[in-house]
C-alpha cells in the first residue's frame, strides 16, 4: 500500500512533458519512500514507549482491568528497592569492565592482526579464529561457559592442576565470583566487534604518518601513542559508547547462566525488570523500572549521536 505513493507521483512526470509537475506531489516523494519505515517505527517504537510510560504511572496494569492513576508511587517503590539498587550497581560494573576489556583486547588483537611481519594467509586464518566467539548466539555462549565453568569442568581442572584453586569453584553459583564470571563471558563474546572496527581503522591510517615518525627516530611506543591512538580516537569513542549501550541491554547471557543470582549478585537492570513483569506480574513497577532503564540509555545515546555528528 505505502509503496504506491512514490510510484504514482513520479509516473506523472513523463506524461506531461515541458510542464513542471505538481511541486506538492514531488515534495511528498521522499516521505513516500520513508513511509514503511516510519509506520513500523511509530507502531512498534513510539506507541510502545508511550504505553510503557503510561503503565508506569498507574497501578495494577495489565493484570487488572480497572487500574488507577498512581503518580510517582511506582518510581518511588523501584528507586527504594534494594534489589533495584543492587541491579544498578551490578550493571554499572558489568558494562564498564566489559567495555574497557573489549577495547583493550580488541585493540591488542587488531594490532597483532595488522602486523607487517606475517603473511596474508596466516593473518586471515588467525582473523577467523579471533572472530569466532562473536559468531555464536548468546544461548550457545551461555551453555558453552556453563560447561566450562562447571565445578567439575575443564576450567576448574586446569586451575586445580596448576594449583591455583584447591577444589572446583562453582563460578556461576558462588555470590563472590558470579558477577566476574558473567563479565568474563561477556568480554569473551563481545571483543571481536571492537576488533573488526579497529582493524579497519588501523588499515585506514596513512603509511606515510608512520614513515615520518620513523624518520624522526621514534620508538614503537611513541608511534603508538602519537600516531595510532590519535588516528583511532573517533572510532574508539563511538565504539565505546555503542558498546556501553549494547552491554547494558544484555539479558540473555545473564538469564541463561545465573538468572540474576545467586543472592542478586548478578542481578542486572534487564533481569530485574523482566522478573518484575513476568515472574512477579508486577507490571506497574516493571514499567517504572523499564522507563528508568530507557532514560539511562538515552543519556548514553545522546553522547553517541553527538560523537557521530562530530565526524
Amino acid at each position: 500500500m505505502t509503496l504506491t505513493a512514490p510510484r504514482a507521483s513520479t509516473r506523472a512526470a513523463p506524461a506531461a512533458p515541458g510542464r513542471p509537475r505538481s511541486t506538492l506531489a514531488r515534495r511528498l516523494v521522499p516521505y513516500g519512500y520513508l513511509s514503511p519505515t516510519v509506520l513500523l517505527i511509530v507502531v512498534l517504537m513510539v506507541v510502545p514507549i508511550v504505553m510503557v510510560v503510561g503503565y508506569s504511572f498507574r497501578d495494577n496494569v495489565i493484570v487488572q482491568e480497572n487500574s488507577v492513576f498512581a503518580g510517582f508511587a511506582n518510581y518511588t517503590k523501584v528507586l527504594t528497592d534494594p534489589d533495584f539498587l543492587a541491579a544498578l550497581r551490578n550493571t554499572a560494573v558489568f558494562i564498564s569492565v566489559s567495555t574497557v576489556a573489549h577495547l583493550v583486547l580488541g585493540l591488542t588483537f587488531a594490532m597483532m592482526l595488522n602486523t607487517q611481519l606475517l603473511s596474508g594467509v596466516t593473518k586471515a586464518i588467525f582473523r577467523i579464529v579471533y572472530i569466532l566467539p562473536w559468531l555464536f548466539t548468546i544461548a550457545v555462549i551461555a551453555v558453552i561457559w556453563r560447561l566450562l565453568f562447571d565445578p567439575s569442568g575443564v576450567v576448574n581442572y586446569v586451575l586445580q592442576t596448576v594449583g591455583l584453586v584447591q577444589q572446583g569453584v562453582n563460578w556461576f553459583g558462588d555470590p563472590a565470583t558470579a558477577l566476574w564470571a558473567v563479565t568474563f563471558v561477556n568480554i569473551w563474546s563481545g571483543y571481536p566487534f571492537f576488533m573488526i572496527s579497529l582493524l579497519a581503522g588501523l588499515q585506514g591510517i596513512p603509511a606515510d604518518l608512520y614513515e615520518a615518525a620513523a624518520v624522526d627516530g621514534t620508538n614503537w611506543w611513541q608511534r603508538f601513542r602519537h600516531v595510532t591512538l590519535p588516528q583511532l580516537r573517533p572510532v574508539i569513542i563511538s565504539m565505546a559508547v555503542l558498546d556501553l549501550i549494547w552491554t547494558s541491554h544484555q539479558f540473555a547471557l545473564i538469564w541463561m547462566t545465573t538468572g540474576g543470582g545467586p543472592l542478586n549478585s548478578t542481578e542486572m537492570l534487564s533481569t530485574f525488570t523482566y522478573k518484575q513483569a513476568f515472574s512477579e506480574y508486577e507490571f506497574a513497577t516493571a514499567s517504572a523500572a523499564a522507563v528508568i532503564v530507557l532514560l539511562l540509555t538515552m543519556v548514553l545515546a545522546f553522547f553517541y549521536v553527538r560523537s557521530q555528528r562530530e565526524r
Binding site: 519505515t37 541463561m256 525488570t273 565526524r311
Partner: protein, 280 residues
C-alpha cells in the same frame, strides 16, 4: 645488519606468540564445545579431560536431528530470520534511497530518530509489546516475531544502505531519468543491482540479529510450534537433566547457518559492517 635481522626475528616471534595465545583464548572454548558434542554424556566430566574419547560418536547429533520438536525450532528460526532479512532489506532500500537522493524537511530529525531507535533497550519494549502483540492477535505467531525483530534490524540496515547509496554517483540515476524513466525505476533497475555487495553485507548481519534474538522469542511465543533455536537450547537445559553432549550438538547445529554465511561472505561482510559502524 645482523642486529636488525635478529630484532626482526624477535619481533616476529613475539607477535606469533601473542597471536597463538589470543587464538587459544578465542578458539579453545569452541573446540571444547565440538569435542563435547562427540562424547557420550558420561564422559563429559571425566578426569583428566580428553579431547577425543573412547565413546566418540555422532549419537548426540542423531538424537537432535531425529527429534521432531527440535527440528521444528530450526524451521521456525529459518522462517523468521529469512522473512526478517527480506523485509528489512526491502524497507531499508526504500528509506536509504530517500535519505541518499532527496533533501526534504525534517530529514535530519528523522535520521536522528532512526539512529536513536538502536539505543532503545529491548527490555523497555518487551512489556508494552506483550500487551500490544496480544491485542493485535500476533501472540505466538511468526508475524509477531518478524515485526518485532525488524524494529532492531531496520535502523542499522538503513544507515548502512544510505551510506552505500551515497557512494554511487548520481549520474547513474540521471541516465535513467533522461531515458524517460522515473526515480522508482532508477532505484530498482540500476541502484539496487549495483548495490548487491552492500545489500549482502546488510542481509547477513540482519539474518544474524534475527537468528540470535532471544528476549522477544522468549516472551512473545508460548508453544513449541513457534519457539526458535535459542529458546530450544535453553529448553534442552531444563528438560534433559543436562545431556551435555546433546546441548553442544544442538548448539553447533544452531550455529551452522551463521558460520556458513559468515565464511561465505567474510570479506564483503567485514567491510560492509565496519563501513556502517565507523562512518555513518
Amino acid at each position: 645488519m645482523a642486529a636488525v635481522k635478529t630484532r626482526r626475528t624477535l619481533a616476529k616471534a613475539g607477535v606469533v606468540t601473542g597471536l597463538v595465545l589470543g587464538g587459544l583464548f578465542a578458539g579453545l572454548p569452541v573446540l571444547w564445545m565440538l569435542s563435547t558434542s562427540l562424547k557420550r554424556n558420561g564422559e563429559v566430566f571425566q578426569s583428566p579431560p580428553q579431547l577425543i574419547t573412547e565413546g566418540f560418536s555422532f549419537d548426540a547429533y542423531r538424537e537432535i536431528l531425529g527429534n521432531g520438536t527440535q527440528l521444528r525450532f530450526f524451521l521456525n528460526s529459518y522462517i523468521v530470520a529469512f522473512a526478517v532479512t527480506i523485509l528489512t532489506l526491502l524497507v531499508a532500500v526504500l528509506a536509504g534511497y530517500a535519505f541518499s537522493r532527496f533533501r526534504f524537511p525534517f530529514q535530519k530529525t528523522i535520521n536522528a530518530a532512526i539512529i536513536s531507535v538502536q539505543a532503545v533497550p529491548p527490555i523497555t519494549l518487551v512489556i508494552p509489546y506483550f500487551g500490544l502483540i496480544v491485542a493485535l492477535g500476533l501472540y505466538d505467531t511468526y508475524a509477531g516475531l518478524i515485526l518485532t525483530h525488524m524494529v532492531f534490524t531496520l535502523p542499522y540496515a538503513i544507515i548502512m544502505i544510505t551510506a552505500y547509496l551515497n557512494t554511487l554517483p548520481r549520474e547513474l540515476d540521471e541516465s535513467v531519468k533522461i531515458d524517460g524513466g522515473t526515480g522508482w525505476t532508477a532505484l530498482w533497475r540500476i541502484l539496487v543491482p549495483v548495490s548487491v555487495p552492500g545489500l549482502v553485507a546488510v542481509g547477513v548481519y540482519t539474518f544474524m540479529i534475527s537468528w540470535n534474538e532471544y528476549l522477544f522469542a522468549l516472551t512473545l511465543t508460548r508453544t513449541d510450534d513457534m519457539r526458535t533455536v535459542p529458546i530450544g537450547i535453553q529448553l534442552l537445559m531444563g528438560q534433559h537433566s543436562y545431556e551435555w553432549n546433546q546441548m553442544m550438538a544442538m548448539s553447533i547445529l544452531g550455529s551452522v547457518p551463521v558460520l556458513v554465511l559468515f565464511l561465505l561472505f567474510q570479506r564483503r561482510f567485514v567491510g560492509g559492517l565496519t563501513a556502517g559502524a565507523v562512518k555513518t
